[in-house]
């Protein structure tokens, strides 16, 4: 049975479990709607769901792009410039010490109810995993490669930059990829939390309003759509990274005698 079939079986199992819980608890539909009811609502309100879904997706993607860009730049700067390490590292640590969700109302106040505040939230939540991952990779370059490179560039100007560009950065890409995978998993959280605090569109906004009107089935439909988007995004990013880094083995190869 291949992975897709297995995924379908798991999904079907979860749906069955869900239906079982509804039957066993006898909960009313405004507390826990059953899968059939949610599916019905999903199709009935498809246009709204799709429209809001696209907004949230756009926020996530923009946040990913921006967070990755700024994160990669920060890590490269810290990894290359010694003084930068002393000044930027504390900033990096502080950026994670403050719970990002606590900043959400502030961002909405500054950037408004539109997409900007949500993109900012997603960016903030992505920034640390990406930066930390990439920086770790840059700092752990195989010393043998650095030795070899130093003998090849001895006495030349800009040797350090060449070594950064041709050895340290490519060597750190797998670590960046790890950080990016984590970032992809948490990005939706940033977008949705931003929407909950104050928004005019998006799946989080939809969920909030459906909840307010006791339209729990619509809330579930929006939630499941969000889960689907997050899942699809993760697999897409993972596949993309594996194609972009073809030399990285799936598993660490065992050390074997030549």
């Amino acid at each position: 049975m291949n992975a897709a079939a297995r995924g379908l079986v798991v999904a079907a199992g979860l749906v069955a479990l869900w239906q079982a819980v509804v039957w066993l608890t006898g909960a009313p539909p405004y507390i826990l709607p059953g899968p059939a009811r949610v599916a019905e609502t999903w199709f009935a309100r498809l246009d709204t769901i799709v429209a809001n879904g696209l907004v949230t997706l756009a926020e996530i993607l923009l946040g990913l792009a921006l967070g990755t860009l700024v994160g990669a730049l920060t890590a490269t700067t810290i990894g290359y410039f010694r003084p930068a390490r002393r000044w930027l590292l504390p900033v990096l640590v502080v950026s994670q010490a403050i719970p990002v969700f606590a900043l959400a109302p502030l961002l909405t106040l500054w950037l408004g109810y539109g997409m900007a505040s949500k993109v900012a939230m997603a960016t903030l939540i992505i920034y640390f995993p990406v930066t930390a991952g990439f920086l770790d990779g840059l700092n752990r370059t195989e010393p043998g490669w650095l030795d070899l490179a130093r003998t090849m560039t001895a006495g030349r100007p800009r040797a350090r930059l060449a070594i950064l560009r041709h050895i340290r950065i490519p060597a750190a890409l797998p670590a960046l990829a790890s950080g990016l995978r984590v970032a992809t998993a948490v990005a939706p959280i940033g977008a949705v939390v931003g929407e909950w605090v104050g928004s005019s569109a998006g799946l989080g906004y939809l969920m909030l309003h459906a909840n307010g009107r006791m339209q729990t089935d619509l809330m579930f439909a929006a939630l499941l759509t969000l889960a689907l988007i997050a899942l699809a995004l993760y697999f897409a990013v993972d596949a993309g990274l594996r194609r972009a880094l073809p030399w990285v083995p799936e598993r660490q190869a065992p050390v074997e005698p030549s």
Binding site: D147, A149, A154, L245, W247, V248, S258
Partner: protein, 268 residues
Amino acid sequence: MVQVATEISRKKRNDADGDAAAPGAVGVRLESASLDYDGRPLFRDIEVTLEAGGFTCLLGPSGVGKSSLLRCLAGLAPLGPGSRLSCDDGGELAGRAAYMDQRDLLLPWLSVLGNVTLGARLRGTAADRARAFELLDRVGLGDHADTRPAALSGGMRQRVALARTLMEDRPVVLMDEPFSALDTLTRHRLQELAAELLRGRTVLMVTHDPMEALRLGHRIHVMAGRPAHLDGALTMPSPPPRDQTAEDVLEHYRELMERLRRAMEATP
């Protein structure tokens, strides 16, 4: 502490097999060198001479400082104050030595060709692809130019490393146990290949295998003691690579083993 002054020689050696030092061969001399490791002196006032165009082998017990000495020559470790490193043509050694390690140090994201031309890439110059292909052919990997290192065996990867070292085209080549991680047959083949391809260059090879030294080296030193010193060179005038059963190899094998035994006793 014994300071042994080794002879300064810049003579070009010629013999029937045309094993002459290449024109422009550079001799290297290290004097009064000291290095500490972990707060303890590794060597003090040590002297090493690499004969121009000659193959010098360095043996000794583990931990005596052979690799450290080689790394100092490669510019990878700083020598203590008072150390004097000079080349007999007056130039600097930095930038004129190629380095080869026990590990192949091939970058996994580059192809074999990319790895061989790594030096040019790092220095921002155009790589001489024709020459790279020629070198790959000479090490027997002409068909694998586009392969990634992960698909090659250990012996093949070390051959790529050898091609990369030759691509650098440096007068001095520093090798740290380059073949010790390979199986016996592959090691023998690579030893012969290296002897052939490095002919005429000034080579320093650190090895723990006395037979390897006797097969490849013109001059063999044993490093011993703490702080370490070098003994006088055991010279082998015949052109390398020599057969294991060659007369001079067998003749000197016992002496070399004896020196090594004494070195092990002298080094705590």
